[in-house]
């Protein structure tokens, strides 16, 4: 079997699993209520036909929402013991990691899909510039990918889903806030922390500017987190 096929089988099972339990619907509902309320409650004050406020919320909201999506990916399997069955089937650790990562990513895409209606509504109200909107969604997916990888790593660490959630949330939240809480540092170091911060790169992409540095940042976070997951799985053997 090609590696891609194994990855897809795992992806399909994991993705379907989200919608078997009510958790998926609850998470999506909470996400839509939160973003919808925060966005539209201030939207009419600015009388600007743009989604910038919606996108600027995403890093904080994703810091909490994405770990709830990823927390079960490994923890639940450790807890039930099905991890032993998964690992001893003819698949590689890479297939398992990628399958689970892609399932969480696909879930985030599904979760973002209804928010396109925000953009459509706004476009009726005024002259919406679609460039930043598309940039915003690209940024949201990149951000989602980075946080998913972090959450997957957190889930690989423990069989307790709550702990996996907290670890994932702390890392994601730190990545979002790191450049904001360290304002007292000297200018030279601030630049460094700004570069580590997910929020900074997300804002760049969300403005509609696709800079390779920003894309490279998200790709690096994904790579480091997934590689970390791989090492954790090796360590378990």
């Amino acid at each position: 079997m090609t590696a891609a096929a194994s990855t897809m089988h795992i992806f399909r099972r994991e993705f379907r699993h989200y919608f078997v339990t009510p958790i998926a619907y609850i998470v999506i509902a909470i996400f839509l209520v939160l973003t919808g309320w925060f966005f539209f409650s201030t939207f009419f004050l600015y009388s600007q036909a743009e989604l910038r406020n919606f996108f600027s919320l995403l890093p904080i909201i994703f810091s909490f929402i994405v770990p709830t999506i990823t927390m079960r990916l490994f923890s639940e399997e450790y807890n039930v013991g099905s991890y032993e069955i998964l690992v001893t089937m003819p698949v590689t650790d890479l297939d398992i990691i990628l399958g689970k990562f892609l399932a969480a990513m696909a879930f985030i895409a599904v979760m973002l899909l209804p928010t396109v209606s925000y953009a459509i509504s706004v476009s009726f109200l005024g002259d919406l510039d679609w460039g930043p909107v598309i940039g915003g969604y690209v940024g949201a997916l990149l951000l989602g990918a980075a946080f998913c990888a972090v959450g997957l790593f957190a889930s690989a660490l423990t069989k307790n889903q709550i702990i996996a959630f907290i670890i994932g949330m702390i890392i994601c939240f730190s990545l979002t806030m790191v450049d904001k809480v360290l304002f007292f540092l000297p200018e030279s170091m601030l630049g460094f922390f700004q570069f580590i911060g997910a929020d900074f790169h997300f804002e760049n992409v969300a403005r509609g500017i696709l800079d390779t540095r920003d894309i490279l940042y998200f790709v690096s976070v994904v790579f480091v987190a997934l590689y970390g997951t791989f090492l954790v799985l090796q360590e378990k053997k």
Binding site: H9, S82, I85, M89
Partner: protein, 312 residues
Amino acid sequence: MIEISGLTRYYGDLCALDKISLTIERGKILGLLGPNGAGKTTAMRILTGFLAPTEGTVIVKGHSIDDGMLKIKKLIGYLPESAPVYQDMFVYDYLQYVADIREMPAESREDRIKEIAGICGLEDVMHRSIHELSKGYKQRVGLAHAMIGDPEILILDEPTMGLDPNQIVEIREIIRKIGREKTVILSSHILSEVEATCDRVVIINRGRIVADGSTEELKRTSAEDYSISLLLKGAPELEIKQLFDGVAGIASVDASGEDGMIRVRLSCRTGDDLREQVYSRVKTKDWALLELIRESKSLESIFSELTQEKEG
């Protein structure tokens, strides 16, 4: 088929497997026997790629676990202890999923799923969620999982756990049938099960192999040994020990009982029949002898001897 050499595994400082070497031929059913914590599950987990050995290696059909694990996994069907299958799937979907991963051809797949459901007695629960099933049914799903790909090697960790007696008989029959062409390794601490199904028995204790052979061979190695079981009435325990102490060939005397009935076990280390001597000794006392039976060694006693001696 399977060559295990110098397999060692530590959990921290704890040594679970200590330089185990073993060659397993095709078409044999091998029983791994041992008390809890002996290393049976650890050995199976290394064979299936769930754990990596600290030292040593395993070669399966020319593939080493160090670099050919994916190929080995394709050859193996594995039932882990207590069958931890996915709880949230329907039985049918689960078997489909396993068939997907095992890349079974689409045209014969439905037939194979039906066949395996029949073998494992799952027809009635195919469209039920696994978490609703009883322990015995979950175990059967685990067995179906292991067997569905028709693997050349079946590794079953306590396969009959949680099954009812009828099902146990059926599963043993299936295992025996598969064992004619395929290689089966099963672990158990139920001796009668191993005696009934396995061609070869390997007894593990504290991470080491303490015995290896067919059940007949194992019994024969201690052919000279047997035990005499007595049931006595009105005999004080202390006196019983004194009475048999002097008899040449009696290795140990165990007495236990209550309400005046005492069950005595005399382990004999000799080729001679000691029953007459024992009887004449008992005759000197004013006890009632209710039973006197010579018992040849069962696998049970070999097992307990081998696994307990080492502890002292």
